[in-house]
């Protein structure tokens, strides 16, 4: 309900004298009273904003999943349309107005596989399956404490913290990877991995899973689980570093994995695993000056691995921030700041990243305070700011929509 403009209410009855003034006052009071009443809550409609240039491309646009702070139930999805240069906030609410309590609480991963889009909603214990073109809901897969998703030959593989409970002297609960049939949305198999598994990827017939052990503080996990796709059983573990998080396999079969560090002595770092014939070799990938990279998030485009992150250092009492690019062929860090126009000064917390596969434009989601709207920055391949736009809360995960024709 839109409150009436008070001026209209005041002067609309053309009455003179004291009676008129009293009447006007009463009407003003009435309009204030009406404004102060409750009204029906409308499902959030979408909001459109023109931000970039129009462009014809086989990549039609991208979706951005905003995590939303825990308990806020404010996970939302935005869409950028390259053909019109329009950014639309909250496309999920618009496409699915009848879904009770909307998309959910804390989105943790977003992928498009074939014609469908999969959003992993961590604190809503579900994976939302949508039509990729329209974001219309197809169904949901319930999975407690689900984290990240990867696809292979008609199956989705989702990591989850909620494995079977073991009551030994302590209390331990290993994580799982669940295999889901993408056609029927049925869970078909489960594989137990390490403690609190996070991101996973598939290469060479194996699923590599980064185990964090985040609930085990201070005894974090330090391994990558290797699952054989054929048997869907954990085959072995590759020790890497504490509290692993992101994991991406490149075209050469190398596995890039990041550590969050333990927030005290060990800082965040990036590692590269080469695993020919099951003989894993782990390399620490650091900047030319020997400094570790802070990895909040990372993405792969061609032979370039883009790594962003900021970390508070108790030694300098300041944030250390990097926007790095690694050549995956040479494993050299090419730069620790690919932003060349000084825009990094206005980014509070780089949180989500994606690189356009054709134009190599770089998208960075700034989570800011986590409870207020974030900002999406789009940079040219040379690191110059092209545009920026307001997002939902905690812009974090991207998926490019490719045209089918």
């Amino acid at each position: 309900m839109q409150p009436q403009s008070p001026t209209n209410t005041l002067y609309s009855p053309p009455l003179g004298g004291a009676g008129g003034r009293v009447l006007s006052l009463l009407l003003l009071l009435l309009s204030i009273l009406l404004q102060s009443c409750r009204h029906d809550i409308i499902v959030w409609p979408s909001e459109e904003e023109e931000v970039g240039e129009t462009r014809q491309d086989s990549i039609l646009g991208f979706y951005l999943l905003n995590e939303g702070n825990m308990g806020s139930n404010k996970c939302t999805m935005d869409f950028y349309d390259y053909a019109t240069g329009t950014y639309t906030r909250n496309v999920y609410g618009n496409a699915n107005p009848t879904v009770v309590k909307e998309l959910g609480d804390v989105g943790n991963d977003l992928r498009i596989y074939g014609s469908r889009m999969w959003a992993v909603i961590n604190c809503s214990n579900k994976i939302e399956v949508m039509e990729a073109r329209t974001a219309r809901r197809v169904g949901q897969v319930n999975l407690a404490n689900c984290r990240y998703i990867a696809f292979h030959e008609g199956y989705a593989y989702v990591s989850s913290y909620a494995g079977p409970v073991q009551i030994n002297p302590g209390y331990e609960q290993k994580g799982i990877v669940v295999k889901i049939d993408t056609a029927t949305l049925e869970k078909v198999d489960t594989c137990i991995v390490g403690f609190q598994p996070d991101r996973l990827d598939i290469t060479g017939g194996k699923i590599y899973v980064a185990n964090s052990g985040g609930y085990m503080f201070p005894n974090y996990e330090n391994t990558v689980s290797v699952i054989d796709l054929a048997t869907f059983r954990e085959e072995r573990r590759i020790p890497v570093a504490v509290n692993l998080h992101h994991l991406i396999a490149d075209a050469r079969g190398q596995v890039w994995v990041s550590s969050r560090g333990d927030y005290y002595g060990n800082a965040s770092a990036l590692f590269c695993i080469t695993d020919p014939a099951g003989e894993a070799h782990v390399r620490r990938v650091a900047a030319p000056d020997g400094a570790d990279l802070v990895v909040e998030n990372m993405t792969l485009c061609g032979d370039s691995l883009y790594v962003i992150g900021t970390e508070f250092s108790y030694t300098t009492m300041q944030n250390q921030t990097n926007y790095g690019i690694i050549n995956t062929r040479t494993r050299q860090v090419l730069t620790t700041n690919f932003i060349t126009d000084g825009t990094e000064a206005s980014i509070v917390e780089p949180y989500g990243i994606a690189v356009h596969p054709h134009t190599r434009e770089i998208l960075i989601g700034d989570a800011r305070s986590h409870v207020n709207p974030g900002t999406l920055f789009c940079f040219s391949p040379d690191g110059l700011l092209l545009w920026k736009v307001r997002t939902g809360d905690i812009p974090a995960h991207f998926a490019f929509l490719v045209g089918t024709d």
Partner: protein, 705 residues
């Protein structure tokens, strides 16, 4: 200051007491000053309408000179006696909704957390005093006012800044706002030596609440009170969420039952009160034990939670006031508190947690009041406090805190001017032992903070009207959680400061005949600044990792207005009406770069503070029949300081109605009451995703011997 100076100060102050003790008490007579009870002058209408109150002379505490409200130097609000009983309130937090300038954060239900924020400065700035001594929580600074039932409470008073008198412990000067909860003091009818009262309440959410009070007069000088109650509730209530399409068509509409909001708690409280010819003393022991579910946020696909919490609170406190001469009196207060809390998350899909926390507090205080010249008084108080926290958390350090407070206050009255000024010195030593990955931490803070209160009667012939103003600067210390909580804590935090400026007036008049017996109007405008606000800031690399930082700034501009009246006619009829209104503009001044005019947080109204709020309460009585109506209104708010549509929270308002009948028999009295709360069944959230109960009922049966 160091420990040696504490020792020195305590040594110099306590001998004074010892000396005072030995002195002869002939100098003064024993009238009037029972506990210096001008502390709590009862509101006029309470006297008026207490048709069955026992104004027994045997009780010295009641023989206080009722200070005129218009002379009140500190803006305050009170609820007591029959009016308090008449409000359909279960806990102290429910009753405090009727105060202006107060926001209650209510997570819903009987067992849900309810905390109070005064003038938008933050919950941690509110001091809660139970029978004169502050309830502490060094762990997180929160006092859950939902836990204090109104069964045995006689009066709740709220002061902006500090209490309107200077003869008090130093700690009473140390908060930005104070709530004083005073339990019932025994009072006896002529010839009676005991009172027995039992009541049983029951109603919606499976509520069952029996309570019992036994008051005994042992001698002319010693009385005691024992009270106990049990509260059990399933906490189950239906709630509804509904959304419509822009066309007005229903998009979705869902009803569910609130789960895991159950509670069972029991409270036992014993007090002894004594009068001596030259003073008073009292001692009290309090025990509270509870188990409750934590109902949690309702989000997509999650309709119930499994977390549980157990609390065990014990404290024992004692106070002694002695009037050594007409010019000098002193008081000593002491307290020991032991709080145990267990938190369990048995939900195996989440991080399993079973943590216990134990807090202990030791408190000693001495205050000395001297009348230097007629109308000019001085008070010197010194308090010592020791807090510890033990936790079963991994890598938890064992924090300890020593606090020494020194307060010097003075009050001056000269015909139409009243002045009160105080200076509080706070000295804190924190120490935390070495954790697995951290070194031991020690820190010391020392600060002096002033407060000045002024009231003036502008018209010579009109003592009913007075103007008042105050300035107070104070701070809150970072809590143990802020400083040391595993991963989140930041041991280098500074105190969070508040500065308050207030200007207002009060007009109050009593008549002894006619329909109107009492009218009171007061209004205050204020500006508050909160600096170095302790805020959780995400610190990057990994989810849910926050760190406490001193970055927040808030500016609060507000107006509060209250009007109340007492009417009587036909000897059997009376009507008490009370209106409250609050306007607040509480803006976030933290990050000047986040200044987008639409969605920026700079200049935005801070989380959950409505611009407009108010209440109306009315009590109509005829003989022994009473009818009460109340209305509470909280205007639109946003749940973060980015005031955009996505963060909008609707206004909410509830209408409550209750009726009571008291049946006086020769030897006993029976009271029946029936309450209906939220009559129109409004479905609302005070906190986002925490649905509140709709229409609910309560029945009360009370027996008094």
């Amino acid at each position: 200051m160091n420990l040696r100076s504490i020792a020195f100060i305590l040594c110099t102050l306590f001998p004074l007491l010892a000396l005072a003790q030995e002195r002869d008490s002939v100098i003064h007579s024993s009238i009037g000053w029972g506990r210096g009870s001008a502390i709590h002058p009862s509101p006029a209408q309470e006297r008026d309408s207490s048709s069955f109150a026992t104004d027994s002379v045997s009780d010295m505490m009641e023989v206080s000179v009722y200070a005129r409200r218009s002379e009140e130097i500190v803006p305050s609000q009170r609820l007591g006696g029959k009016r308090l009983q008449a409000l359909s309130s279960f806990s102290v937090a429910d009753a405090m909704r009727y105060f202006s300038g107060v926001q209650i954060k209510d997570y819903g239900g009987v067992g849900g957390l309810k905390t109070v924020d005064i003038r938008s400065m933050g919950t941690n700035h509110m001091g809660v005093f139970y029978d004169g001594i502050q309830l502490g929580n060094a762990q997180n600074g929160l006092v859950d006012l939902g836990r204090f039932s109104l069964d045995n409470v006689e009066e709740i008073a709220l002061y902006n800044g500090q209490k309107a008198q200077i003869f008090q412990p130093a700690r009473d000067y140390g908060t930005s706002g104070s709530v004083y909860i005073r339990t019932r003091r025994p009072r006896f009818d002529e010839g009676k030596v005991y009172n027995l009262r039992a009541s049983l309440k029951g109603g919606s959410f499976g509520l069952i609440n029996p309570s019992f009070v036994w008051e005994q007069r042992w001698s002319k000088r010693i009385t005691s009170s024992l009270s106990a109650d049990y509260t059990g509730a399933s906490g189950k209530y239906p709630f509804r969420y509904r959304r419509v399409l822009p066309s007005g068509q229903v998009a979705w509409d869902t009803t569910a039952v609130r789960q895991n909001g159950d509670i069972r708690s029991c409270r036992v409280e014993a007090s002894v009160f004594g009068n001596t010819s030259d003073g008073t003393w009292n001692a009290k022991a309090y025990y509270y034990d509870s188990e409750r579910g934590i109902p949690g946020a309702i989000v997509s696909n999650v309709w119930k939670h499994a977390q549980r919490q157990w609390d065990r609170n014990f404290f024992a406190q004692a106070g002694w006031t002695k009037h050594v001469s007409d010019r000098y009196k002193f008081q000593i207060n002491a307290k020991y508190a032991n709080d145990h809390m267990r938190y369990l998350n048995p939900d195996t899909t989440l991080m399993y947690q079973d943590n216990t926390f134990r807090q202990q507090e030791l408190y000693l205080s001495t205050a000395h009041h001297v009348e230097l010249l007629p109308g000019w008084q001085m008070n010197l108080a010194a308090d010592y406090q020791y807090n510890t926290l033990e936790a079963s958390l991994t890598n938890f350090v064992f924090p300890q805190r020593h606090t020494l407070l020194l307060a010097l206050a003075t009050q001056y009255e000269c015909r139409r001017l009243r002045l009160m000024a105080s200076l509080l010195g706070t000295n804190v030593w924190d120490h935390a032992t070495k954790g697995i990955t951290s070194d031991p931490v020690s820190s010391a803070t020392s600060r002096w903070t002033p407060a000045v209160y002024l009231s003036y009667q502008p018209l010579r012939d009109c003592p009913d009207l007075s103007l008042r103003a105050f300035y107070k600067s104070i701070f809150r210390l970072p809590t143990f959680n802020d400083l040391y909580y595993t991963e989140v804590g930041n041991a280098s935090l500074q105190p969070e400061t508040t500065r308050q400026w207030n200007l207002g007036f009060i007009y109050s008049h009593d008549w002894y005949r006619g329909i109107f017996r009492h009218v009171e109007v007061k209004a205050d405008g204020y500006f508050n600044r909160v600096d170095n606000k302790i805020v959780a800031i995400p610190k990057g690399s990994g989810q849910y990792r926050w760190m406490m930082m001193n970055v927040g700034k808030v500016h609060i501009l507000g107006v509060e207005a209250t009007a109340e009246t007492v009417m009587r006619w036909h000897k059997d009829w009376s009507l008490v009406l009370c209106l409250n209104y609050t306007y607040q503009s509480a803006t976030d001044r933290t990050d000047p770069t986040d200044n987008d005019p639409y969605y920026g947080t700079y200049g935005g109204q801070i989380a959950y503070v409505p611009w407009h709020s108010g209440s109306v309460a009315g009590n109509l009585s005829w003989k022994n029949l009473g009818l009460n109506y109340s209305f509470i209104y909280v205007g639109e708010r946003y749940h973060t300081s980015a005031n955009i549509r996505e963060n909008y929270e609707q206004p909410w308002y509830t209408h409550d109605l209750s009726a009571s009948y008291r049946w006086q028999l020769p030897r006993l009295a029976l009271t029946f009451a029936l309450e209906c709360n939220n009559i129109f069944n409004q479905q609302y959230d005070v906190i986002q995703n925490y649905p509140m109960p709709g229409r609910n009922w309560k029945g009360v049966l009370k027996v008094e011997f």
